[in-house]
Subunit: 263 residues, 2 copies
DNA sequence: CGAGCGATTGATCGCCATCAAAGTGGGTGG
DNA sequence: CCACCCACTTTGATGGCGATCAATCGCTCG
């Protein structure tokens, strides 16, 4: 593991990994095929993403062309304009997809979580700079090999299509937000999205984990960092949220949050 | 032809249609299969869209389940939330895909031109209200039949995927515009898009046809109608454009327009 | 303990929205 | 054929939201 990762503890210990695997119903016999040193050993997204669409035999084929890539926070996976020679599947951590205008104005098209594809494109070049928000780990596939694989496995092709369609739906949602919502509405909408992406514990209050820094939120919502702060402050003052820490919110009143999001 | 179409002259006369067909290289023998009364007779987008990905035999199969639908200006093809029972391919005219916030704020996700698919979704419901900007004509396919067809024709599946990928790229472009560009930049960017979609005549000055009304432009760009007018006025004053009519612009200085679009 | 970065809070400014009032032109009916 | 009408567009005056500029806070790390 490269030294660029600040804390070893960011990664699951081996026995944690084992627990995850046994929690995933159905495919346990397949763990027998994997040596602990194999790149896919203990991958927590076995039942998400790429792998979900595949039978064990198909997966074995795909595995052979995949390697892993580890990113430290803020480390780039690729730059906008790089030739698109690989596709990736996120297994740990969160990434951001950013794009710059010539004068440096920045936009974040989205955040990618474990189970998401990144770097998939029909173009020759990556259209985004992809960076780690938090320490991240990915499966990397050479594009040529991946394309061949898709060609032979209709399930994977369907999966890719459905992935593109879902991303399109999300992008259309976001366009409405950017075109027509006010700053408070943007923040509320964003927090609801983050609630969805945060693992909740039954019986405990609703939480929203914000793995990214304030400027990432601002560049995602098309506002400024000061506005993000002020609107969070307003939600706090209105007792809609409470801040456990800068990256960790409690949602005290989800209905109120939804009302402020305007659809 | 329904009376809702104001002017018969909006549609190509039969001999015009014939000229178009002979302009399309390659598939002329296939015209023998079509009686003049057939819905696909003389379709000017035979080599675009759906049909392009298919051989003549495949196309014949698809044809059997397609009918045509004609729309008067501002007539709706479907409403946001309607169950998505059909998919369409635009053959004439321009459509707009709109979405409303609960309080009536409107956003236009995009405009669809001849050759474009519309109404294609993986959801059960249409996610947009689709309306005619100008008098329009479409090929309509029952979704169930269309899905079956796609299932059996990998070329069509690839075509659909590529279509989704392209729409995604366009949506990502538009998000940057909405998140980070100023009003003058938005207008300039939009005009460049319209130049691309306008058929140019070699040797004549560059033109941009704007089939939609000002409020559609505003709702597409996330600004107000008055701002659209003012920025068009500014471009006119700067001798970057000239207005032949409200819907028809001459581009006097494309480089200047590109400079004002900021990428 | 101090340095430095990110977050917050405060003060002011400017772009674009909003409100208001013509101007324009295509279509209709007299 | 002309005059009116109505919808769309343009232009003008004002205001507000969020950007910008500026200062402070507070946490993490050396």
């Amino acid at each position: 593991m490269p030294h660029s990762l600040k804390a070893e503890s960011n990664w699951p210990s081996p026995d944690k990994v084992s627990r995850w695997r046994t929690h995933e119903g159905g495919r346990t016999n397949d763990s027998n095929e994997l040596a602990p040193g194999h790149p896919c050993f203990g991958c927590p997204v076995r039942d998400l993403a790429v792998c979900n669409a595949l039978g064990d035999d198909e997966l074995a084929v795909l595995r052979r062309c995949g390697t892993t890539r580890v990113l430290a926070p803020n480390e780039a996976l690729c730059w906008e304009g790089d030739s698109a020679r690989h596709v990736y599947s996120v297994s740990h951590g969160v990434l951001r997809l950013t794009r710059l205008l010539p004068d440096g104005r920045r936009h974040i098209a989205g955040f990618s979580y474990p189970g998401d594809f990144v770097g998939v494109t029909l173009e020759d070049e990556h259209s985004f700079t992809i960076e780690a928000v938090s320490a991240a780990k990915l499966c990397r596939f050479p594009r040529a090999r991946f394309d061949e694989f898709v060609e032979v496995h209709p399930n994977m092709a369907r999966r890719l299509y459905s992935n593109a369609a879902n991303q399109l739906v999300a992008a259309q949602q976001q366009m409405v937000l950017l075109a027509r919502k006010t700053a408070p509405e943007r923040l509320a909408t964003f927090l609801l999205q983050m609630v969805e992406r945060t693992k909740q514990v039954a019986g405990e209050p609703l939480r929203a984990r914000l793995p990214m820094v304030r400027i990432d939120i601002a560049d995602y919502l098309g506002i400024r960092i000061e506005t993000v702060s002020r609107e969070l402050g307003a939600l706090k003052a209105a007792r809609v949220i409470r801040m456990q820490s800068v990256h960790d919110l409690l949602i005290l009143n989800r209905d109120q949050l939804a009302a402020r999001a305007s659809g």
